[in-house]
């Protein structure tokens, strides 16, 4: 596997640290009741999104899941807009209507989070179909967990994309647990790449903790998709260091396993390699963390200052034109 140049490594490192510190700040904000509802954090899986998304063109589309803060930030959605959305405020990237699980950004073709497991797969296939029919050369990257592979929608979408040679990059973030169900308790065949090859599309397993390995595999997969020969599939084997959401007792896995996986922390894997190659000083990582923390703190202030939407516009965005009259709702929002 070829190694990346120092500048690229530094950018990947900063990106991963940025996502890590953003997610941890969200955990704290959740404890302070600033962020509500469900919150699913990407801590531990940063290498997957960082490695793939850096290779996407601005005009490529991305469809994510409910664990999509990192994907949104890396695709270019402004930090302020993501944080304001978590606070449910007007300046959020979904106007405060989506929240953590439904981040959207038309300008960056970020077609959202999706709280239905496997729900985004047909949407991604459709976006790719539109591009193909309109003769546009661009890719739709679709991220989903290994849990989605048990949904009928995965089979139907993979088959349809392969059947019609659609430009979709399927990225399976295999973090070994579908909430509380381990992979081997859910799938008859746990070698997911092997299983997907049955649809007649190229499929590779990848070490999802090594950002350089992810980058290498993603380059090959994207080249295949852009060639027009149809979709490709990456099984990115990774691990989440925190609970499925805020919070679960994590009874489904033992602590030793978590501790062992933390020794493969994607950030330290890259940082140690850079230090060994003389590309990173002993305090550089701390400096990056502080710089990132300051940017994140500004986004918290921005979010806190952003106003809440008035209830009188409650009925907006259900239809494109005027909202349909709703008698009882108006009493509330009048």
């Amino acid at each position: 596997m070829k190694h990346l140049d120092p500048d690229t490594r530094r950018r990947l490192l900063r990106d991963m640290v940025f996502v890590r510190r953003f997610e941890e700040r969200c955990a704290q904000l959740y404890q302070q009741t600033k962020i509500r509802g469900f919150l699913h954090l990407y801590v531990g899986e940063e290498a997957v999104a960082t490695g793939v998304i850096r290779l996407l063109e601005p005009d490529d589309a991305l469809v994510g899941t409910y664990r999509e803060h990192g994907h949104a930030l890396l695709k270019g959605v402004p930090t302020d807009a993501v944080m304001a959305e978590m606070f449910g405020r007007v300046d959020g990237c979904s106007g405060g209507r989506g929240g953590s699980m439904h981040l959207f950004d038309a300008e960056h073709r970020f077609y959202g989070g999706n709280a239905i497991v496997g729900g985004g797969l047909p949407l991604a296939v459709g976006l790719a179909l539109a591009d193909k029919l309109a003769g546009r050369d661009r890719v739709t990257a679709c991220f989903f967990g290994e849990g989605a592979m048990a949904e009928g929608e995965f089979h139907e979408s993979a088959n349809l994309a392969a059947l019609w040679d659609l430009p979709v990059l399927f990225c399976c973030e295999n973090n070994r647990y579908a909430m509380g169900t381990a992979l081997d308790r859910s799938e008859a065949e746990t070698d997911l790449a092997l299983r997907v090859s049955g649809y007649g599309m190229p499929a590779w397993p990848v070490d999802g903790m090594d950002v350089e390995a992810v980058t290498d595999a993603a380059e090959r997969a994207l080249a295949s998709v852009r060639s027009g020969t149809g979709p490709a599939f990456l099984e990115l084997r990774t691990y989440r260091f925190r609970a499925h959401s805020m919070y679960d007792p994590e009874l489904y896995r033992d602590k030793a396993e978590v501790t062992e996986w933390k020794t493969h922390d994607p950030i330290h894997l890259l940082a140690d390699r850079m230090i060994a190659d003389g590309q990173l000083g002993p305090d550089d990582l701390a400096a990056i963390e502080q710089e990132v923390d300051e940017e994140i703190e500004r986004s918290v202030e921005f979010a806190d200052a952003s106003p809440e939407e008035g209830v009188e516009t409650l009925l907006r965005h259900v239809y494109a034109e005027a909202p349909e009259p709703q008698r009882d709702i108006e009493e509330v929002s009048a």
Binding site: S94, G119, P122, G126, D131, A134, S157, N159
Partner: protein
């Protein structure tokens, strides 16, 4: 093409819808048709017969039996700038795509704070009466009319089969067209040019003074027959064709009830927790002081539709049951008629 005819054309329901799709695809190359057997087979109900030959496999796309995927793909293509027409063979199979319709098509605009819309048209066949038994005879219009974010229409006349597709395709939000299978073979007059009636407008198909029969789609002809029978008994029934089930055209309904002071809602769906209940509630809320009798409802009996002909006909709304309900409402002794 010869000069535009003046007098109306005579067409069947399938011919009218086929003409509408053909016209739309010739006019706008963003429009394409996708669904099971819509291409080579010519459409399960032969609605898209011959279109593959004119537009080719790229724009008349046969799909695998994957309702969730191809309806989801239709949603994605619409969000991606196309104007797809997705045909779900029958409403019975639409249940497999309900997640995509509810959680993506209907919600995307709202969840994204207005950034993404889904200008998609879904066509599907509905209704019983053709001895297809329980799994192929459902009428689920009410389910879909419950969902904010999509629009639901039900053509009851051949003219609407011809002219509803245009405005539906032009609508920036998802529109589902429920086509009652019985009307595919029925023929009727079609105006040669677009009458330009807004999608959400209800129309009084027969004026009357004594009672309003509020209905849509496949039961419209049944109500017109019932009105004729009632006329022989000196009762002038007004027949209101809803055309749109979401949004409902409350104004036209209430105007009619204000004239007749009695109403029967006729819906091929089941009675409990159904569309007929919603319409009855709205009449109660908005025209309470006009009522001289409780709003009656004539719906399909609450049974999975049986295969045997006589059982199926007994279950479905019929002219006799509509006339009985109307008579009960007329003579003031209307109790809660459990027809």
């Amino acid at each position: 093409m010869n000069t535009t005819q003046v007098e109306p054309l005579l067409m069947t329901g399938r011919e009218a819808m086929r003409a509408a799709m053909t016209e739309a695809m010739r006019a706008d190359d963003r429009v394409f048709l996708m669904g099971e057997d819509v291409g080579r087979y010519g459409g399960c109900f032969a609605v898209s017969m011959g279109m593959l030959e004119e537009f080719g496999p790229e724009r008349i796309r046969d799909t695998p039996l994957s309702e969730s995927a191809f309806v989801g793909a239709g949603i994605g293509a619409a969000a991606g700038g196309m104007r797809p027409i997705v045909e779900i063979m029958t409403v019975n199979f639409s249940l497999l795509a309900l997640d995509q319709i509810m959680n993506t098509a209907a919600s995307l605009r709202h969840m994204s704070g207005g950034q993404f819309g889904v200008p998609l048209v879904i066509r599907t066949t509905t209704g019983g009466g053709r001895q297809l038994a329980a799994q192929h005879s459902h009428s689920l219009d009410g389910w879909y009319a419950h969902i904010p974010g999509i629009k639901i229409v039900a053509p009851g006349t051949i003219d609407d089969f011809r002219w509803m597709l245009g405005p539906a395709l032009a609508d920036p939000d998802p529109v589902i067209i429920f086509e009652n299978g019985a009307l595919y073979g029925a023929s009727g007059e079609v105006s040669p040019t677009d009458p330009g009636i807004p999608l959400e407008r209800a129309i009084v198909r027969r004026a009357g003074t004594d009672i309003s029969l509020v209905t849509f789609g496949g039961t419209l002809p049944t109500c017109l027959d019932a009105a004729a029978t009632l006329a022989e008994r000196g009762i002038e029934a007004e027949v209101v064709d809803l055309r749109s089930l979401r949004p409902l055209d409350d104004a036209t309904i209430m105007d009619s009830v204000a004239r007749t002071h009695r109403a029967i809602v006729v819906d091929e769906g089941w009675r409990s927790v159904g569309l007929s209940g919603e319409i009855s509630a709205r009449i109660m809320e908005q025209a309470f002081y006009e009522l001289d009798a409780p709003v009656g409802r004539v719906c399909t009996a609450e049974v999975p539709l049986p295969y045997a002909h006589q059982l199926e006909q007994a279950a479905l709304p019929s002219v006799e049951r509509i006339v009985d309900a109307a008579m009960a409402a007329m003579d003031g002794t209307a109790l809660a008629v459990a027809s």
